[in-house]
Amino acid sequence: MGLAACGGGEDSGGSKTLRVTLVNHVWTENIKKALPEFEKQTGLKVEVTQLGEDQLSDQYNVKLNAGSSDLDVMMYRPLQEGKQFGKNKYLADLTERSKSDSAFEFSDFQAGPVQATTYEDKVVGVPIITESEVLYYRKDLLKKSGFDAPPKSLDELKAQAAKVEADNPGVAGFVARTGKSAAVTQFSSFLYSFGGDFVDANGKASVNTEQAKQAYAYYGGLLREHGPENISTDMSWSEAMAIFTQGKAAFYTEANSLYKNATDPAKSKISDTVGFAAFPAGPAGSKPYNVPSWALGINDQSKNKDNAWKFIQWAAGKEQSLAQQEAGVPGARASVWANPQAIATYPKDLAEATTASTANGIGHDRPLVVKVAQAREIVGQPIVDAITGKDPAASADAANEAFQKFLDDEAK
């Protein structure tokens, strides 16, 4: 503190100390290792604050609200906070900077992710990490039950889950997130694959369409009938992942970015037998989400924007993106995905599954609104109701009404 810029013109006198706030993530670990190189190049001192996901967002809420200038570079979740930050003008406009730099080559970033980091036609963030949903499965259990390939469709998934569960007492056929809010993102791929979405083309709530009702019934029913015994309705990825990596479930739908939890022998009992497949097709085909989970932005109140941009140029630049991808963090640059060397370290089936999702993926995994947390709770309610055996159709009708009211309120 105390090193406030001395004003005078467009932050020309920016501080030599750059304050970067990052989330606990493999990406962050990697970037921290490479930091000395950046500091040497630029002569800047980078001060990294690293926090858990919820704590990070708490800090942003307090600091950005107070109009604080002591955040420079911010790692944020475009789909969770992007609209809120954009609406409140928390993020600096990066349109000029991003497009004027030819070496950075902004056009190299995939269109979907870039759309999520754009607010009202202004670029406000640079996507750094992407995620899509894939199917995790147990090769050994499938083989034992006589299946030589993972399910291609949701119907097959149900049938295989039932068979494996029957053949292996104590092992659930299927596990996935069950928490009202946590499950929404992983449920979204089911919703899309049944042909639904949270909001229709006219901007109206659409979580009670026939397709949506089927999706809720399918997801909840699968967990209810073939999920773990005494299923909790509060599981986020960590609980669901623990069940899968303990060898207590045959199938698991989850974000590809979490794969190391399953393949790392230090964390997983089933690291040798885990397989990955593209998201199974529903009536509308295989439509997993494919989203930018994290992006870098600059605090609009920062007095050090030039240097902040230098950091983003470096951290989201081609070289670092490639290094991250090689280290197992899927990025948003098309050139990196085209580079065979970049995905050589991935399990082969995971790389294939991911490529498939990139091709036919949907660019959002939750309702695109300002108050995402609230919206997730509304559209997540039928998931929980379906798991606990209530009528998913009735619950979807109720949720739709609440969601429409929410959208109307937000439009005001």
């Binding site: 919820d54 967002s57 708490d58 809420n61 307090v62 950005l64 609200n65 107070a66 109009g67 809120q84 609406k87 409140n88 928390y90 069950t178 928490g179 009202k180 809010s181 773990p228 015994e229 005494n230 909790s232 309705t233 509060d234 599981m235 609980e239 623990a242 069940i243 303990q246 207590k248 300002v370 108050k371 947390a373 609230q374 709770e377 997540g380 929980v384 606990t388």
Partner: protein
């Protein structure tokens, strides 16, 4: 507590008497406020602005960002919140339930343990240390520890149950078991505090009424019920008061075990957690401030009722 009666040898050089400076005379004359005012000012300065701000926000429709423009809407938020049977009243109920249950159990259990520790025995020192440990442990760390112990698949709690032939329980992750489980954690951590308070009270009781009752042929239970308990009642109220404020405001344990929103069904969402969620998850600052003001009033009300009761007992 440690009543000090050490004799002090008065130092002869202390007699500075008549040679007082003007400042010293002034200071001595005004020592009451000279001593008390800085601490009061410190708290007042840190508290007045936030309370005024919260009060103001509760009358506006502020949301998204507190710096964004907001409209003055009078008491609309209060009407909305008090009519909200979906989140607000359940949160009030949970707060009351949580506080009531943990207080009842902590006082009952604390009383039992304090009675066990009352008379001296060998190893007393070590037992007291053991009792102190949960109390001084960092609540966030404690929350994390219990989260792992109560994990339905990999936790120790279900493992222990399986040894005695009981099936796995959902603990923190069950819709109906989460709140009792967090109560259990609170009871684990704070019963020791009640024990220590009651023990201090017991130790200060004189033995005479006990012995008189013994001579009258009163049973152990009768002696406790009719002699010890009435004498100890003021101390019990102090324990309830101290624990009550903290129990109403419980946050760290709930945050560490269930995160924001208190679970899928808001099953552990107390008023404090609800207000936190409104601020930090929904950015609904107007409503959040309203809930906070109501919450504040509830705490003051409870405090007032208890102090009032205590005064009645003191007489």
């Amino acid at each position: 507590m440690s009543a000090v009666t050490t004799p002090v040898t008065r130092s002869p050089q202390a007699g500075a008497g008549p040679a007082e400076s003007g400042w010293s005379r002034w200071a001595n004359a005004h020592r009451k406020w000279l001593f008390a005012a800085p601490a009061m000012a410190f708290v007042a300065v840190l508290i007045i602005f936030p309370v005024a701000w919260t009060g103001y926000l509760s009358l506006t429709d502020a949301e998204g960002s507190v710096r964004a423009e907001s409209e003055f809407i009078g008491f609309q938020n209060y009407l909305d919140v008090l009519a909200d049977t979906d989140r607000f009243w359940p949160a009030v109920w949970r707060t009351v339930l949580f506080t009531g249950v943990v207080l009842a159990v902590e006082v009952a259990l604390g009383m039992a343990i304090a009675l066990l520790l009352w008379r001296p025995f060998r190893g007393e020192r070590w037992v007291r240390v053991a009792i102190l440990l949960p109390l001084v442990a960092t609540p966030v760390a404690v929350g994390m520890m219990w989260r792992l112990i109560f994990d339905p698949t990999i936790g120790m709690a279900n493992q222990v149950l399986s040894w005695v032939g009981i099936g796995p329980q959902p603990w923190l992750s069950g819709q109906s078991s989460a709140l009792p489980t967090t109560m259990f954690i609170d009871i684990w951590q704070w019963t020791p505090m009640v024990v220590l308070i009651l023990l201090a009270g017991l130790t200060s009781l004189s033995d005479e009424p006990q012995e008189a009752a013994l001579i009258d042929g009163a049973s152990t239970w009768q002696r406790f019920r009719h002699v010890t308990l009435p004498l100890l009642m003021p101390t019990v109220i102090v324990a309830i008061l101290l624990r009550g404020i903290d129990a109403l405001k419980t946050f760290d344990i709930l945050y560490a075990t269930k995160g924001r929103g208190g679970g899928s069904f808001h099953e552990v969402e107390t008023l404090n957690v609800y207000a936190y969620g409104l601020s930090f998850d929904y950015n609904d600052y107007g409503v959040s401030s309203t809930v906070l003001i109501i919450f504040f009033l509830i705490i003051i009300g409870v405090m007032w009722a208890l102090t009032y009761r205590k005064k009645g007992l003191d007489r």
